[in-house]
């Protein structure tokens, strides 16, 4: 028995959500007095692989093969499922990232495993029952799911678990699997990364703008504030519908669900569909000229004021803070 964590990389580098998932998987391994094995697929530097040990991995399986350089859903699922079998893993952990959401269901079917997606806490394992808490109803609630299969697959919501560096470097072993030809039907033609920007699902701070900002020409302020804070930018649905901002920035029930440490909402009313995707943010700041805006009811801090007056002052205050801090 062991716990297997799939350590996802983006362009050869592990992401924060990967370290979160490793830390989480380590705590599950500890709950069960067993060891944590990590598997990495693609081209990752040896030092980075060994460093997964610092988050709790005892051993790292390195799958490096030209055909598997980029994420190929079916082939990666085969490799991870085979690794789980070879290592006798009865719990497989992944990050609930965009790629994780493509992989986890396929792995679960291959392993005849129950799958808990979007998990936010460590499992409870009392009296032979294995239960785990996940988000449901687009962040309006949580559900506790019982998994009754011998093997279990868990995908962890980004930003839901703390990264805990504690161990030392892990040993790295090469691992390979004979993939079926049919695992490579889908072919990647191109990967376009906007490297200069913080990715929204992974961001610790999100600065978000709504219709109150009047038009796309006013987003300079939002971007400037975000850049100062090392934050990602986001928007409400009408803003992306109007083409002021790209769809990939739309947060909410029918957009991306985020749970950053800090969510700053500017000129957003706080409709129930918007709140659904952002209400699990740890701290919420609302800037709105209408004191009756529903968003203030779920905010931790608020400024009742005109964004066009408040934002320049806020930007200046953050600059001031950054230079003195």
């Amino acid at each position: 028995m062991s716990v297997l964590i799939y350590a996802e990389n983006a362009g050869g580098k592990f992401k924060k959500s990967t370290f979160e998932a490793v830390s989480y998987a380590k705590d599950i391994a500890d709950q069960n007095n067993t060891s944590l094995i990590a598997i990495s697929i693609g081209d990752v530097a040896a030092g980075d692989l060994a460093a997964l040990g610092q988050y709790g991995a005892e051993k790292v399986l390195n799958v490096s093969n030209a055909k598997l350089k980029d994420f190929v859903n079916q082939a990666y699922a085969s490799v991870i499922a085979e690794a789980a079998k070879a290592q006798g893993a009865d719990i497989v952990v992944l990050s609930n990232s965009f790629s994780g959401r493509g992989l986890a269901p396929r792995i679960a079917v291959k392993l005849q495993a129950g799958l808990a997606d979007g998990v936010v806490e460590l499992p409870a394992q009392d009296g032979g029952k294995f239960t785990v808490k996940k988000t449901a109803f687009s962040g309006k609630a949580f559900a506790t799911v019982e998994l009754s299969s011998a093997v279990k697959v868990i995908s962890l919501t980004p930003n839901a678990y703390k990264v805990v560096p504690n161990g030392t470097d892990a040993s790295v072993e090469d691992f390979s699997v004979e993939n079926k030809e049919s695992d490579f039907k889908a072919m990647i033609k191109d990967i376009v990364r906007s490297t200069d920007k913080v990715s929204l699902p992974d961001a610790e701070i999100v600065v978000s703008g709504g219709r109150g900002l009047k038009g796309p020409e006013n987003w300079g302020m939002v971007e400037e504030l975000a850049e100062l804070l090392g934050a990602a930018t986001a928007c409400s649905k009408p803003v992306s519908d109007a083409g002021w901002r790209p769809h990939s920035e739309h947060v909410g029930q029918t957009g991306i669900a985020v749970s950053p440490n800090l969510y700053i909402a500017i000129g957003i009313s706080g409709a129930i569909q918007h709140l659904a995707g952002v209400s699990s943010s740890k701290v919420i700041v609302v800037i709105n000229k209408d004191a009756e805006a529903p968003f203030f009811k779920v905010a931790d801090y608020g400024i009742v004021g005109d964004a066009f007056e408040v934002l320049p002052k806020l930007i200046a205050a953050v600059k001031e803070y950054k230079t003195t801090a």
């Binding site: 269901p105 129950g114 990939s248 699990s280 801090y301 806020l314």
Partner: protein, 246 residues
């Protein structure tokens, strides 16, 4: 003629205030309006565009009891050709994917569309499970979907970017925003939906491995701390010293 299958789920309206009954073990459906899952509307809209001009037919499939018929009729009114309902409560994503996979094995399709997730349980699971059960490719979160003969060109969402893929049909696509604009049924659609075929199929028994045993709603936040609009510096101070998030 291309055959397209669109998997549809019946979910609480987005304005629903979520509450629970029976000691927080059941979702309270009292007074809740059910709708076609918004992501499935996008899948259906793209299917209609792809099949336009007699290029194909669109079957919608739902795993649900008779209560979902209204949502199925809505999909027919929007433009699906016919519908299948597998007559069972959807126990979990595995159960749903299994039932649909059995149906597809007996009735093959060129393209299978799902939404990127259902807005009730937000699993993003059905697309991947279906792909695995049918041993065909699946992409769970698609932002663009075009066809060129028997090959699909797809744009997949990744953190901070996008990935472009080509995939031979058949495959399973989980559709997200960007793929198409939802379509609103017109009068003719609504009239014809009444007479379009809706076939009810009995489920196949299969073991499930996950079960929701309880619910909770997020803890309410404390009262908002208001900061004077003229001094955002005070907000920065609070975020640093009190909230400790910057």
């Amino acid at each position: 003629m291309m055959k397209i299958l669109v998997c549809i789920s019946n979910v609480p309206d987005t304005t629903t205030k979520i509450t629970f009954t029976d000691n927080n073990t059941q979702f309270n459906t009292n007074g809740v309006q059910f709708i076609l899952n918004p992501w499935d509307e996008i899948a259906l809209a793209r299917a209609i565009e792809l099949a336009d001009g007699g290029k194909g037919t669109i079957t919608v499939i739902n795993v649900g009891d008779a209560a979902t018929d209204a949502t199925i009729r809505k999909a027919l009114a929007i433009g699906a050709t016919d519908a299948v309902r597998i007559n069972a409560k959807p126990k979990d994503a595995w159960y749903v994917a299994y039932q649909i996979a059995q149906y597809v094995k007996a009735n093959p399709f060129d393209l299978i569309l799902t939404g990127k997730e259902s807005i009730d349980y937000n699993g993003s699971k059905v697309a991947g499970m279906l792909g695995e059960l049918l041993d065909i490719p699946s992409v769970s979160i698609i932002k663009k979907l075009d066809l060129d003969g028997g090959t699909a060109a797809v744009e997949r969402e990744i953190e901070g970017g996008k990935e472009l893929l080509t995939i031979p049909l058949p495959f399973v696509a989980g559709t997200a925003e960007g793929v198409a604009e939802p379509k609103i049924p017109n009068m003719r659609g609504i009239m014809s939906a009444r007479t379009k075929p809706l076939t009810v199929v009995e489920p196949i028994a299969v073991e499930t491995f996950s079960n929701i045993i309880g619910y909770e709603t997020p803890a309410p936040r404390g009262k908002v701390t208001l900061v004077y609009a003229g001094s955002p510096a005070q907000l920065v101070e609070l975020l640093h010293t009190q909230a400790r998030v910057i």
